[in-house]
Amino acid sequence: MAQGVILFPSTHFAVRAEKLISPRFSVKLIPVPRHLSSDCGVCLRIPWEQREEIQKILEGAGVKIEGSHLLSLTKK
């Protein structure tokens, strides 16, 4: 299953997103992949095909999102 990440402006929003999303989706807070940002914080790893549904919930709750990215499966 393809996975992606949602990036947030800060950890506050990432933790808020985890709390809102984790009851319904299989998500995990992970360090921001270096190729996406040099930020030292965390982002939310999500099942990529559910990204629209997840983003809708976050936007509805006023969680600031910086972007979402598909995690490349070939990259090692």
Binding site: S10, H12, V15, L29, S37, D39, C40, G41, V42
Partner: protein
């Protein structure tokens, strides 16, 4: 064997703390311990979660939707400094009351020297502001009204909804100091039209010292806030400029993680009981104390003398005795811990007519009992009889 102490200095800091607060802090130190928001490992994330939980609970307690608008800091003083220095520009006018604490007066007096105008509305000798005095003080350049919710000297509760409405009608920011009331008296930021609310974590919210914060309402444009300090936030690390969003804008450097873990548990304690239950118990204690003190010959009680119009803080003097002497003897002879003097609020004492001597202050928390009030009343009665 040492007799049990009666702690009546809760307006300075609440004591004892609920067991859950101590346990939460030990758990944070033993099992979490990491720096929140600075890394992606499990312990750092767990530390971030603890702080997020506390932030969300503060938001819920004061009825605001967006927890990112709760900015944590060291105490209410820091929050007040942030709100005043961060938003008032040279040429701006601010209105406040004569009942304010030095945590407000001192930054305001300093800002006055740097080109801001300050109007202090005198309160009644009982310690109440008359809301009608607010519009009379509004000028073209008025930007903010600052008001304490509950006095740290006489406990009087100010009419927040009335003043809030005036601020809304005149498009002024309404800044409230809830150091004495957050956790003990209901506060609804929306209904009371509050734009900025400074709170402390270590009084009626039962957290440890070194916790507090500022709630920044939706009407306040965060882009216009000048933070007190700038530094590492764990976010936007690639830039050397401070992030311009809340809460990171105003929270630089490693936060008081263990303290906020304690505050988080203190918020649970308050939520479980409910503010209404806490308030009712404190009204009962205050009523008992006020009534008892007024019945002791030679005792002068200050403030409203109406438990429903004040928080659980009572000021008194005994004729012919220095308040420092009363406080000392209450401690040494009876194990009752009070606070004498001016309580960092000289203007409030001028208002109630007790400057520069001050008063003896007795301040309760939810954890005090009627029995402790009775012990205190017997002690004050004995001291007043014995005289100086």
């Amino acid at each position: 064997m040492e007799k049990e102490l009666v702690y009546l200095d809760n307006a300075a800091t609440s004591h004892p703390k609920p067991e859950g607060v101590i346990q939460a802090m030990v758990r944070f130190m033993e099992d979490v311990g990491a720096n929140p928001g600075r890394s992606g490992h499990r312990l750092s994330i767990e530390a971030s979660r603890v702080i997020y939980e506390a932030r969300e609970k503060v938001a819920q307690l004061f009825n605001i939707c967006d927890p990112s608008r709760v900015v944590f800091g060291q105490n209410a003083t820091e929050a007040i400094n942030l709100g005043l220095k961060g938003l008032l520009r040279p040429g701006d006018h601010v209105i406040t009351s004569s009942l304010e604490h030095n945590s407000v007066m001192r930054p305001l007096r300093a800002l006055e020297k740097e080109g801001r105008e300050v109007t202090v509305i005198p309160c009644s000798p009982e310690g109440f502001i008359d809301p009608h005095d607010v519009p009379k003080s509004i000028k073209k350049n008025t930007k903010m009204v600052f008001l304490n919710h509950g006095s740290n000297v006489v406990g009087t509760l100010q009419p927040l909804p009335e003043v809030g409405k005036i601020c809304q009608n005149h498009s002024l920011l309404f800044f409230v100091d809830a150091a004495q009331t957050a956790g003990a008296v209901p506060i609804d930021v929306g209904r009371q039209k509050i734009d900025l609310l400074a709170f402390t974590g270590h009084k009626a919210l039962f957290g440890p010292q070194g916790t507090g914060g500022l709630i920044i309402g939706e009407k306040v444009d965060e882009k216009k806030i000048v933070p007190l300090k700038r530094g590492g936030t764990g976010s936007r690390s690639e830039f050397e400029e401070q992030p311009d969003f809340l809460p990171d804008l105003c929270e630089s450097g490693t936060p008081n993680g263990v303290g906020l873990a304690g505050l988080n548990a203190g918020l649970d304690f308050v939520r479980k009981l409910g503010i209404e239950k806490i308030r009712n118990h404190e009204i009962q204690l205050t009523e008992r104390l006020l009534k008892g003190l007024q019945g002791i010959p030679g005792v002068i009680v200050y403030g409203s003398k109406d438990a429903r119009k004040q928080c659980a803080t009572v000021s008194f003097n005994v004729q012919g005795m220095a308040n420092s002497e009363i406080s000392l003897r209450l401690d040494e002879q009876f194990g009752i811990l009070s606070r004498p003097g001016l309580h960092c609020a000289p203007s409030a004492h001028r208002t109630i007519g007790t400057f520069p001597e001050g008063t003896v202050r007795l301040s309760m928390s939810y954890l005090n009992t009627e029995e402790e009030i009775d012990i205190t009343l017997r002690a004050v009665s004995q001291l007043a009889r014995e005289g100086a």
